[in-house]
């Protein structure tokens, strides 16, 4: 089944078609996005891209350019992500334009992005439950009680997971987080 047929099926609510589309196109999109975004941002943008494709499949005009359609959605989602970060973030690099398979990483992207990228790479070494604690406590700045309530585990368990998170991130980043 070609991409146009898959997207037509997507428009009809076939989640199997979305899965197939993801399998075919997500790796390429990931590579193109990874050139300019850290891994965790790439994952977020990819997720939003395919959800947008799922919701907007009816607007697709069959012309055998599914890859370009998806890349257009991915660029818009990446732009939204960067805009949400505020003015401190560099504007959407031109490398997110069409047609460049593996553009070089721009060298004026800013220290904060490099640090974010390092942190995100370090966070990727965590287990799912540890990553959840990392997200809630250190990114969203929630209290121990809130995290305990949200995750449904006792505060003691949250504390020991947070301890493991700090230890692993310290090791991954070579010191820095207390």
């Amino acid at each position: 089944m070609d991409d146009d047929e898959l997207i037509m099926r997507l428009a009809g609510g076939d989640d199997g078609a979305l899965r197939e589309l993801f399998t075919r196109h997500a790796p390429v999109l990931a590579v193109r996005l990874r050139a300019v975004l850290p891994p965790s941002d790439v994952e977020d943008v990819l997720q939003e891209t395919f959800l947008a494709a799922w919701k907007g499949a009816r607007s697709y005009q069959p012309d055998a350019r599914a890859g370009g359609w998806l890349w257009g959605i991915a660029r818009r989602q990446a732009a939204l992500l960067l805009r949400r970060r505020g003015p401190a973030t560099a504007p959407l690099p031109e490398v997110l334009a069409d047609g460049l398979p593996n553009p070089p990483i721009p060298n004026d992207f800013g220290e904060s992005v490099a640090t974010n990228a390092q942190l995100a790479a370090a966070a990727a070494t965590l287990s799912p439950v540890e990553r959840e604690v990392w997200q809630l406590m250190y990114i969203e700045d929630r209290s121990l009680a809130e995290v305990s309530k949200l995750t449904g585990v006792p505060e003691g368990t949250v504390k020991s997971r947070a301890h493991r998170v700090r230890r692993q991130l310290r090791a991954a980043l070579g010191g820095g987080l207390r």
Partner: protein, 257 residues
Amino acid sequence: MTAPDDSKPGLDGIDVSGIDLRRVWTGVAAEVWRRQPGRVERIATRLLRSPGLARALVTTPSLLVPWLISTVVVFVIGGALTLAGEPLVWLIAPVAAALGIAYAYGPGVDPAWELACSMAVSDRMVLLVRSVAVFAVNAFLGLAVSVVSYWVIGPAAHGATGRAAGQAVAVTFAWLLPMTAICALTLAVAVATRSASAGAATGVVAWCTTVLVTRAITSGELTAAVTNSMTYLPYLAVAACAVAVIGFGTRTQRGAL
């Protein structure tokens, strides 16, 4: 269990420059497969303060739309037909409610019963909520049809038979007490025997027997099962005993499943 499908490339092990595509897909799937609770479920969640209980309530077999429609039809027929000048709601309501209760929940009707007994939301709470809801729905339908029947059919029929207005009102409303007793008895038998069918059959037979016996005792008065005040205490006793059996049968200290 994580082996990919042979017919197409899967998501396993694809690590593109440190990106976990499997995790991305899971996030997409979570949103695509997400179920949106309906309005009834959202209200039930607020009232019961438990999303699990609310979900269990709206999935009660005897509260699903096909069953509800059948119940409405049965009640309307009961309201439209008369016997000896009385609409038949009083006769039908206890049986309809008992059948609904028997097939609401429990080991005889829930194929995943053993699993349900290991849940944080206790099976006893689910049973209570579902039974009360089924009873309330049937009581409401019965009352609605009964009141309408009384005003449409009742006065003319009562005038013809010379029946007192008080007795007519009793027939219109007093079936709630025997309905409570029959429902409790049905549920008790269903819990004790772990069979919804046994509970349902017991409820139907018990009510038919009650109607016939009270009619015989009161020299032929058909509606004696609901109008004769001597029946009220026995109904309350049956309901109390049945509730005790249900409480004992649903305790965590139980035997083989």
